[in-house]
Symmetry: C2
Amino acid sequence: MTRSPAPPAPEKHIAESTVRRLSLYLRVLEQAAARGQQTLSSDALAEDGGTTSAQVRKDLSFFGSFGKRGRGYDVAELVSQISDILGLGREWKVYIVGAGKIGAALVSYRGFSQRGFRVLGVYDNNPQIVGRMIDGVGVRSMSQLEHDAAREMPDIAVITVPAEHAQTVAELVVSAGIRAIMNFAPAPIHVPSTVTVKSVNMALELEGLAYALVHRDANAS
Amino acid sequence: MTRSPAPPAPEKHIAESTVRRLSLYLRVLEQAAARGQQTLSSDALAEDGGTTSAQVRKDLSFFGSFGKRGRGYDVAELVSQISDILGLGREWKVYIVGAGKIGAALVSYRGFSQRGFRVLGVYDNNPQIVGRMIDGVGVRSMSQLEHDAAREMPDIAVITVPAEHAQTVAELVVSAGIRAIMNFAPAPIHVPSTVTVKSVNMALELEGLAYALVHRDANAS
DNA sequence: ACATGTGAACTGCTTCACAGCG
DNA sequence: CGCTGTGAAGCAGTTCACATGT
């Protein structure tokens, strides 16, 4: 009976960058576990996570003292701790809004199901495709979203509609009571501050690469 | 003959966050232009870009003085200046490596072509699909990549293979002479420092949302 | 001896506030 | 008079360095 009684929650605002790194550490730890490692030092964690050992220790210290001095971190235990911190102990219900190419691709994305994110439905306006199945998930009519949400209580909406519809869809999703949005549309969306939004803008990332290519030679070799 | 003679390049290292915001300003400016706006203040730019007017002015000031005091910025001119800064004046040649669902979806992604990113080829190991066309772009054998690259000189590789192959593919792409990589595989890749990498890890973003959902109520209402 | 946990120093991005110019 | 451009101040995240515990 060593059921950990939920250790997270420091609540003095954790930097987004810290949360990202925790996700990375989790991957490293899982790989280490798969290789049969029992214990891992902050140095080893930093190595694969692409950061420094001091950073690893600082990140973890916000949430508790999980290591053993002189020894490092117990892999299994730290996996469990970080999972708890990130809220991965439960299943999260996801709606994907927009059944275009990217929306359809995300339905089958293994990275989602592996972490307990379950796609309940894909929503679209196009009557041609409403009713079809995409990789085992039904395409539903956008007009049903609010109604369905009242029953299914989804946690997260992934928006994969064209830029010009992103704001409208975001508002629909918010009024359906969904409080977390992952926005793949190449347009900023404005929502009440009670709703959390993460945007993934691929065009923007590419432009960052173009910038690097143009300006690299001046500075580095 | 007022052909701007290339104004970019300050070369004192610009923060990545600044470059991101320049991309955002560019979108806002283009929308303003489409609406017929002739001029835009830093306040207006900040509004839609989700930042502050001081930030806008500071960002632009790294590259020059583009505004007119008491008036604001000329929309058309600033579009041109930022495009130059970001290196969008030319066409960038892109290989997509991995013809799975996400790779295929990216081939048709309009955000790419709209900004002058042209997909020359999609590479995959699966002989079943090599030779097919995806939205007008041919699927080529992975074994030809290095050979093709010597001729076509692509600028950017988009990696959309499973996590376990990401590192191998990254090395292939680097030895083919490509110096910019956009990594969609949910695994970190290690490359020489002469190569620029941007990673888009969707599982990681989702975990950030899960964290926000779990920890929101403690702090905000 | 070894590796963690953490205050203190540091670095760098953001915000402020105002002089300067159209 | 309005809005830009920018040094200076403020703040947040990272790195350092060492005391602490096993």
